[in-house]
Structure formats: C-alpha cells, structure tokens
C-alpha cells in the first residue's frame, strides 16, 4: 500500500486519465466530437466487450500477443547476450557503436517485404521484424547498464574467483538488472509495434489484420473495439513491467 507523498504521483496519473476520458465523453455527449468519427469512451468500451465476446477475436488477440512475447523474449535475451559479449571487447564495441547509434535512422519496416520474399508470408517475418526492431535497443541498453556496474563490484567478483560465466550470472546481470528491465520493457514496446504494424501491412491473421479489415469494411465499431483492446493490453504489459522492475530498482536504491 502506498502512503503519503509516494502515492501522490500515482493518484495524479490516475486523475489525469480520468479527466481526459471524462472530457472526451462529455465532448462526445454534447456533440463537440462527432461520434461517427470518434466514438465516445463508453461506446468503445461496449465495442471492446463485443469484440472480446467473440472467440475469433480472442484468437486473433492471443495470436498477436503470443508473437509479441516471442519477439520480445528473443530480442531481449539476444540483446543481453550480444551486449555481454561485446562489452568487454573494446575494439569490437568501438567498431559497432556507430552502427548501433544510427540503426534506428533506418526504418526497419522497409525490410518487411524482403523478409517475406526470404521466409514466405506467415508469422515468421512478423516475428523477425519485431525482433529487429527491439534487439538493438536491448544491446545498447545492456552496454550502458554494464558500463554502470561499479568497478569495485567487478573487481570484488574477480577476487572471489568467479568464472566468467559465474561473473555474468551472479554479479553483472543482477547489478545491471534495473536498467536491463528498462531495456526489456523497450523490447516489449517494440514488439507490440512490430507485430501489430506488420499484421496491419501484410498478414491474414492477428489483431493488426483485424483492425485493418474492419477499417477497410467501414466497420468502425469493431475497429475501435480492437484498438481499445490493444491499448489496454499494451498499458497492462507496461504496468506489469513497471511492477516487476520496481523491486530491483528499490533494492539498488536507484
């Protein structure tokens, strides 16, 4: 239970959402916002319930969520592993750093058609593009996190005679955990973007495809229902990560 001053930011955050959604509802009710274009929050809530009531919709959501998790896990684990390998090799890091820094200047989605020609259509190119979106963020976060591990902690680990693997498992990863969790959160966000957007562009399944399909057929109720579901899922995932990350951050006194 949060008390006193620590609870204030949480209360303000909640109040902000309540006020914005409340204003949105009021504007729709008094006709300031055309409900044919932007439905009222209550309407979207009903649309969401209707969408979630259909097994086909739940399957689409589950399919997207599964691939988001797969992509986030691979990007996260891969990024941490690459970061751990690159970090101690100064020359390799110096060589890679310009590429890592400029990676996001290239829109990763331009490779999506190329991936489809290589792997064929289906879920694989969607997962691959999502991994490509997230992995570099995880690599750079891992490098920064390892830079932040104090030299005395690293030296202490050496004095205890830890093998390189033990050093990584028992010291470096736990010491860098708060920042690594932030990196993983980024991976999940990128995976959400990668999967939903890829389904939107070229796919025959998943929640992104369902949104595009509803849009193409002027079925705005269903479209907003799915959009609402994605927003809730993404927010819940981020909140879940914040809760997981809160404990290591508190321990480290960060």
């Amino acid at each position: 239970m949060k008390t006193g001053l620590t609870a204030i930011p949480y209360a303000l955050r909640l109040l902000l959402i309540v006020v914005l959604v409340g204003l949105w509802q009021v504007f729709c009710s008094i006709g300031l916002l055309g409900t044919g274009i932007v439905p009222a929050p209550v309407t979207i809530w009903h649309d969401m319930c209707a969408v979630m009531g259909q097994s086909a919709s739940r399957a689409a959501l589950w399919l997207s969520l599964r691939d988001i998790l797969i992509a986030a896990l691979i990007a996260g684990a891969g990024g941490i592993a690459v970061g751990m390998i690159v970090h101690p090799i100064r020359l390799l890091r110096a060589a890679l750093e310009p590429y890592l820094a400029s990676y996001y200047a290239v829109p990763t989605f331009i490779f999506y058609p190329a991936l489809i020609t290589v792997t064929g259509s289906g879920r694989l190119p969607i997962i691959l593009i999502s991994i490509m979106l997230g992995i570099v963020a995880m690599i750079t976060t891992t490098l920064t996190a390892l830079d932040g591990v104090s030299r005395s902690i690293v030296r202490t680990a050496r004095v205890f005679g830890l093998t390189p693997l033990q050093n990584v498992m028992y010291v470096r990863i736990p010491a860098a955990a708060p920042m690594l969790l932030s990196g993983l959160r980024l991976c999940v966000s990128y995976a959400f973007i990668g999967v939903i957007a890829s389904e939107f562009i070229m796919s025959d399944a998943g929640v992104g495809y369902q949104i595009a399909y509803a849009y193409d057929n002027f079925d705005t109720d269903t479209m907003y229902g799915y959009i609402g579901c994605v927003v809730v899922l993404a927010a819940a995932t981020t909140l879940g990560f914040d809760m997981i990350a809160a404990e290591p951050v508190k321990r480290e006194g960060a």
């Binding site: 030299r151 902690i153 202490t156 004095v159 005679g161 830890l162 028992y170 290591p248 006194g253």
Partner: protein, 270 residues
C-alpha cells in the same frame, strides 16, 4: 612469535616489482617500482604516498588482479598467479551487492566456494555478531549508511577467513568520527583473526594509528622511500592519537611525504 603478535615468517615478498602501462594513445607509463617489500605474517602494514604513486596498482598485484611487468610477487613463498586463496580485499568504493540482503552479501563468497550450508550459516551468524550487523541482516545495502555498507564488505571478506587482508582506503568515504571507530573495529578484527593486513591509505592519521609499520612511497613511479616502525603494542586502539609518540610518528612520515608530494605537484605543473 614476537610480543607484537607477528612472526618473522614472511607472508608477502615483493622483489624488484615493477608495473608499466600502455596508455590509449600508445604511451608508456612507468607506474610502480622497482619495489622491495616484505610483509611479516600477522603484521599490520600501511602504505602512504602521493596521489597516483601506484598504491592501488601494488594492491592489484598482491591480490592477483594484475601481474607485475617485472620482478616477483610471492605469497607464502609462492609466486602470485591469478587470485590466490586466502586473500581478501576491501575497496574504498562501495562494493556491496545491492541486489542481495546483508546476510546474502556476507554469504556470497562462501556459497560460490561450495561450502556446506551449516558451515555457511555458522560463519554468517558469527560475522553478523562480530560486525554488529545482526539487526540489519535482512536489509539491503541501499537501506544502510556508508559505514554500515563498508562493514558488510569487510564481513564478506572476513568470513572467507583470509590470511592476508588487503584494504584499499576502506574508510575513505567515511567521516572522521566513523573512521576512528571503524579503525578501532579493524584493530579488534586484526587481533582476533591473526590475519596479516596491508592497508593503502591517504590518511596519515589512520596509518599511524593502525599500523605496526608504515611504508612511504615516492611519487610515480612509486618506490618505497621509507619504512617506519610505530612500536605500538598489539593491544591498541584509537586512543593512541593522544600519545606524544603519535605526533612524532606523524612528523616522521610527513617529512618525506611532503617532499614527494611537492615533487609530484611540480612535475604535474611543468
């Protein structure tokens, strides 16, 4: 064994030890030596010297974290290769593991060494009492003061029962009052564990108060320019600071150190 609790048996021997580094720009830095030093078993020896004279480099060589560029470093008659068994080290910076509770911090090295659970528990319990950490056993380091965190690091080192304890300015980040109290505790630990201690410090007060002998190092490349016997009894504490001999000792190590520090500053300004 002498009345001071030391033996004449050498614990550490440094013979013509030198260390050199290559800078990022390809330059060569002669950081240390040639240096000869013998640490007697059970002795408390402090090293003082101007900034950058290679004190910490010396510690790295003794702990096996670095190999000397020339000369020989021996521990109990054996060349130091890698981190030897029986050596514990405490750094100036906070090296407590923030993700572990106090008791898990203390047990860390014992678990990695694969000791039996009962043995680990017994040693940890003893260390918690010994270092006055019992009330904080389930706390995380971020919940403790700097002095308490340093106690955790010392306890984590002591439970390994090292015969040689290397201290790299362990009280450097603490206030003067806490330093004196920690110094008293350190002397008590030293007497009760019979370990050999090498303390690297910037603080002349600390060196004079704690040590059997004090080594004064020159500016870089660090060489030993003076070794001073303090003559303190083994049963001593921070009250020695009120002894007239304390002032004499301070003067004795300050004179060469002052000259070296001036030399170092002049060289830096040149």
């Amino acid at each position: 064994m002498t009345e001071n609790g030391q033996t004449d048996v050498p614990c550490v021997e440094l013979r013509q030890v030198e260390q050199r580094f290559t800078t990022r720009k390809g330059g060569n830095v002669h950081a240390l030596g040639p240096l000869d030093l013998t640490l007697r078993r059970g002795e408390f020896l402090s090293i003082v010297g101007p900034s950058g004279c290679g004190k910490s480099t010396l510690l790295d060589i003794l702990s096996g974290l670095a190999r000397p560029a020339a000369g020989q470093a021996l521990l109990n008659g054996q060349p130091i290769r890698g981190v030897p068994d029986g050596v514990g080290i405490v750094f100036q910076e906070d090296a407590s593991f923030g993700w572990l509770t106090v008791e898990n911090n203390i047990a860390f090295g014992l678990k990695r060494r694969g000791l039996a659970r009962d043995d680990i528990a017994a040693r940890v319990e003893h260390a918690l009492d010994f270092m006055g950490l019992r009330r904080f056993r389930t706390s995380y380091p971020s919940q403790l003061s700097g002095g308490m965190r340093q106690r955790v690091c010392i306890a984590r080192t002591l439970v390994m029962r090292p015969s040689l304890i290397l201290l790299d300015e362990p009280f450097g980040a603490l206030d003067q009052q806490t330093r004196l109290l920690m110094g008293d505790e350190l002397l008590r630990l030293w007497r009760e564990t019979n370990a050999t201690i090498l303390l690297i410090t910037h603080s002349l007060d600390e060196a004079v108060m704690l040590s059997d002998r004090i080594g004064v190092m020159s500016a870089r490349p660090g060489r030993l320019i003076k070794l001073v016997e303090t003559g303190w009894p083994r049963e001593r504490d921070s009250t020695v600071v009120s002894s007239p001999h304390y002032g004499d000792l301070l003067s004795e190590i300050w004179a060469p150190l002052r000259a070296e520090s001036n030399h170092h500053m002049a060289a830096n300004n040149a």
